[in-house]
Amino acid sequence: MSAISIRSLHKTYGNVEVLKGIDLDVADGEFVVFVGRSGCGKSTLLRCIAGLETISDGSISIGGAEVTRLPPSKRGIAMVFQSYALYPHLTVRDNLGFSLGLARQPKPQIAQRVARVAEILRIEDLLDRRPVQLSGGQRQRVAIGRAIVREPEAFLFDEPLSNLDADLRVQMRHELMQLHEELSATMIYVTHDQVEAMTMADKIVVLNAGRIEQVGTPLELYSKPRNLFVATFIGSPRMNVMSAAAARQAGLAVGDAAERIGIRPEHIAIGHAGSGQFNGTVGLTEHLGADSYYFVELDDGSRLNVRRSDDVMLSRGERVGLTPNPGYLHQFSADGARLD
């Protein structure tokens, strides 16, 4: 059992509070992604769970046992660092076997487990090289291998793919997800990339300025963002936000308490001028092949991004009418909270 639970965790550096009361439960075997902008405290939270940072207040337990005061080595978790942090003076073989050696495992058993991990990650040919002789992707594999060789209760990943090329990133993403299935271990994965979060997570934790904004499945975050921050952070391209007044004026059904209205680009139909609730002029366009995104300048001066997935091309300066799908309107109060 390796469920992780965090209760009112605070972390301050000097007089700067970096984590402002985190409460979180991660179920056994779950793949949880921490996502948020750079500097929001993702790495700090991960390092607190790992035990690399002492926490200022609160508690952490792993597998039902409180570990708040335990050193990292006693927590039974492995971590993969963004920089890989391989041991430069050791071969890949010794990098992989390092933790087992510390645990005084017998040599034949170390060799056997290292060989198995090397096979899983397809790095058998690299065992006698040193980190300096490896490519970025190979180093990444070794770093992951070093984590799984110990068969830990839980894995922590801090932006493990951010130093890789786009191609390799997608490939490694799939391999990590497959690894998660095979090991059925608890994994916490940090990224600033919401696409990575959406595609990999069982559960996403959205962090902002040291607080959790929302916890949920990718679909929950997409369809029911709890506030304006999550609404605009999750989804690519980002959700359009307009004032509730403008929406009411256009005849949309909007509650009295609503201050802001959100609508995703994929939930707006685009047609002839005068055919919808908003009229505007096509401005910037992005053609991605399957989809096209049109930034439509509305007559009141605001702008809506609209997705169109058919083959009809609109040209810049064309007059169009827009019809938001009423079932997908997100309404937010003045302080940004979701209204339902």
């Binding site: 660092f81 920089s83 391989l86 390092f98 980190p131 300096v132």
Partner: protein, 283 residues
Amino acid sequence: MSAPPSTRPLHPGQRVAVGGILVLMTLFAGFPLLWVLLTSLKPNNAILSKDPIFLFQPTLEHWERVLFTSDFLKFYLNSLIIAAATVTIVMVVATLAAYALARYPMRASKDISFFIISQRMMPPVAVVLPIFLIASNIGMLDRLETLIAINVAFNIPLSIWMIRGFIEGTSREIEEAAVMDGASWLGAFWRVTVPQIWPGLLSTALFVYIYTVNEFLFASILSGTNARPVSAAVALFLPTGVRGTLFGEAAVAAILIMLPGIIFAALMQRHLVAGVSLGAVKG
């Protein structure tokens, strides 16, 4: 991370020029050593000849005198004990202090570092008298421990400063990885960072060794006949009395004094393989 040195092949002309310069530099550095070695083997009349003599009947009389009839070996042993103890203590203390300063930054880190290095700004001669008086009062004159303590005190600041630089050049995250792998913090430093800065540690140790072996001021003032190291004792071989200066014996002493340092440096050369830490972090 610095780029690897260029490996572009040289023009033949450049090769000759570079080779010539290297040969000149080697001769320049090596000739005095050769001359000392020859002198140690020359009979006295050849040493005192006005013309440089390269061909002579070699003799071991100077070696014999130094090794068997003088007190040289006693002084030599003193020097080796003082140097070995100083190097050991300095390296252990300075490495741990440097680790703390490099890895546990606190508000006072800068001040502590400056205080440490400022100890080096004071000329030793300024404290000779007080130290002599203290040592005399507590009955510590002419003892190896006193000279070891003095040398440790004078070498620790610069050593901390140097080693801190080496440690800061390594990645803290690699130590953290070792901690996640089950090591203690100090264990991670020892197993992961020390191997990376090994060349730096060895060169620091060599500095300390050379300083200690050459230290003359305190050696001559704080030691008498018992704890006297070679640096202060070598003057014994250069009396300008009726027998004249004993250049042959001085040459033998010089060779023996140089020997451990040269052996140490030769062993160390193997470890000065640059770039062991390249590629450990980042892509």
